[in-house]
């Protein structure tokens, strides 16, 4: 039995960053949050790939999406079935080439993968924060990432990149810290959520909150987990991350046992897929974190503080932008990305925009779609070239 499972030798896989180990940064500069509360000190778990050069100007920050974490590339153990969530794009010879860039990915504050969050002990009560963890915004995350940046000895990112909620962080970076962002890569994002998007998030939250095992967020103290709620939330999410076409192509109306059973057990393959996604999510994610992350999504709206004008909101940005969207993405559709591009153009910013033909829906931003990766590669090649030119000139 054991011999049958041969772990892949990741160190020899071409294009892989290989085995990686997360690190923890302790930040003891208090963080004043948008909600008015403050966190005196916190931990941020992060991973890095590649080497920081002497001038410290080849660093790229990767911002993760709703259910992501710091593990963007490589494997923690040789036997890991899956690599990091954006392994398709990060590695030696890949679009974000770790032979040239020093790549940093942080588990966001409020997360459940080691950074300070609802699972951490609240120093004021000596109990886990649970539901008492402050509500966070995208700007709070960016501020905390900025603190990490300084601890790493980096004054300016060569690029900040991210998809979905990650793309929102990229925009916020460009607005909040223009001097610290040379290039902003905003993928499958939106300048703010639509009512429909908030509605999906609300159903997901209600699924969790109304689970009898939720206990007002204090499930850990009751020795339970709101499994059903979290599972439903994830199942709903997955429906919105895929396109109708992608679902049809992947599952059709295929039946697991070949014929209908006239019952409520799993019959269609798509049901089986969603249940698998839901249950496996429960094992790796915390319900309170999920609630926090969806709220951060809902609140993101940089234009709100600029008279509802996105161009005005983006005014401080000095970065060059690359915006990418995917045709079948209906959760963050190309229309939403075009709003970002239009605002950047109106502000006279440097921006390129690629609209990638893809059937995978919102999930497409994680896939190695040839044209998408061709654009990313070309863009990051230029960044790498501008870095080495600066170095040659010095």
């Amino acid at each position: 039995m054991k011999e049958a499972v041969k772990p892949p030798n990741t160190m020899q896989q071409p294009g892989s960053v290989g085995l990686v180990e997360p690190q923890t940064a302790h930040v003891d500069v208090p963080l004043l949050l948008d909600c008015g509360r403050r966190i005196e000190a916190y931990d941020l778990v992060y991973e890095t790939y590649g080497e920081l050069n002497e001038a410290a100007d080849n660093a790229v920050l990767i911002c993760h999406a709703l259910s992501g974490d710091h593990h963007a590339a490589g494997r923690h153990r040789p036997e890991d079935r899956k690599p990091g969530w954006w392994d398709t794009a990060i590695g030696p010879g890949k679009p974000i080439d770790t032979d040239r860039f020093f790549v940093v990915c942080v588990n966001n504050l409020g997360g459940c993968k080691g950074s300070t969050g609802p699972l951490s002990i609240n120093p004021e009560t000596d109990r886990p924060y649970g539901p008492d963890f402050p509500i966070l915004t995208v700007r709070d995350w960016v501020n905390s990432q900025h603190a990490l940046m300084r601890q790493l000895g980096i004054a300016r990112w060569a690029a900040v990149a991210g998809g979905s909620l990650g793309g929102m962080q990229v925009m916020q970076w460009a607005i909040s810290y223009p001097e610290a962002v040379a290039h902003a890569v905003v993928i499958a994002a939106a300048p703010k959520l639509s009512a429909q998007n908030i509605a999906f998030n609300e159903v997901a939250r209600q699924a969790i909150i109304t689970d009898p095992d939720f206990h007002d967020g204090r499930y850990a103290e009751h020795g339970t987990i709101p499994r059903r709620g979290l599972m439903l939330a994830r199942m709903l999410g997955h429906i919105t991350y895929l396109s109708d076409d992608a679902m049809r192509a992947k599952f059709g109306r295929e039946l697991r046992s070949g014929r209908v059973q006239y019952g409520f057990d799993v019959e269609f393959q798509v049901e089986s897929y969603l249940r698998y996604q839901g249950t496996s999510f429960v094992d790796r994610f915390d319900a309170n974190t999920y609630l926090l992350m969806t709220k951060a999504l809902d609140y993101f709206d940089p234009a709100a503080e600029a008279g509802d004008d996105l161009a005005t909101a983006l005014e401080p940005a000095t970065a060059r932008f690359l915006v990418v969207s995917f045709t079948s993405d209906w959760r963050f559709s190309p229309t939403r990305s075009r709003e970002i591009v239009r605002a950047l153009l109106a502000g006279g910013k440097s921006v390129s925009y690629a609209e990638v033909e893809a059937h995978q829906g919102h999930d497409a931003f994680l896939m190695p779609i040839p044209y998408y990766h061709q654009v990313l590669t070309g863009y990051f090649d230029n960044i790498a070239r501008s870095i080495s030119q600066t170095e040659a000139a010095e």
Binding site: A354, Q374, V375
Partner: protein
Amino acid sequence: MNRPDWDIVTGWIREGARVLDLGCGDGALLQHLIAERSVRGLGMEVDDERVAHGVAADLDVIQSDLDAGIRDWFGPHSFDYVVVSQTIQAIRHPERLLSEMLEIAEEGIVTFPNMGYWRNRWQLGIQGMMPTTKALPNPWYNTPNIHLCTLRDFEALCEGLGIEILDRAVVDQARQSSPLLRALPNWFGEHAIYRIRRRVV
């Protein structure tokens, strides 16, 4: 490799101007204008391969279909020049594009293959077949060029749209001008290059 119209287009553009190149292809003309005129350039292109090429060349490129219009993207007076080089004949609504481009820029520069060129007339008028030339290499059944016109056609359209023609240059494939060409541009010009603006009323 310069195309026949580039030198003239470049000559018409001010140093440091803001330029939008509609249907910018792989961005070669924009690169040329940046090198020669230090323009602030932006390209618009629909084709994946060409967009990727433009991005890799460090240009700002927006992927969009010109047939969907350009007014959604830009506010009025966003550019000094909008260039449409060898593209207008492939647009579904050239008249709409001409109007829109003069809403977002002070001046437009349009270049296109002249259907009135004598070789085209010869092939159609005498041989009785749709022309195929260096400027129009595609067969009729498989060509992006769906709206071909002559110099006179174009000038009539401009008149109808209230567009003023500021400059006109006509060249053959070798980019040369000649007395014959100057005397009978609609016969001997293979490429037409126009500088236009909205007529001031």
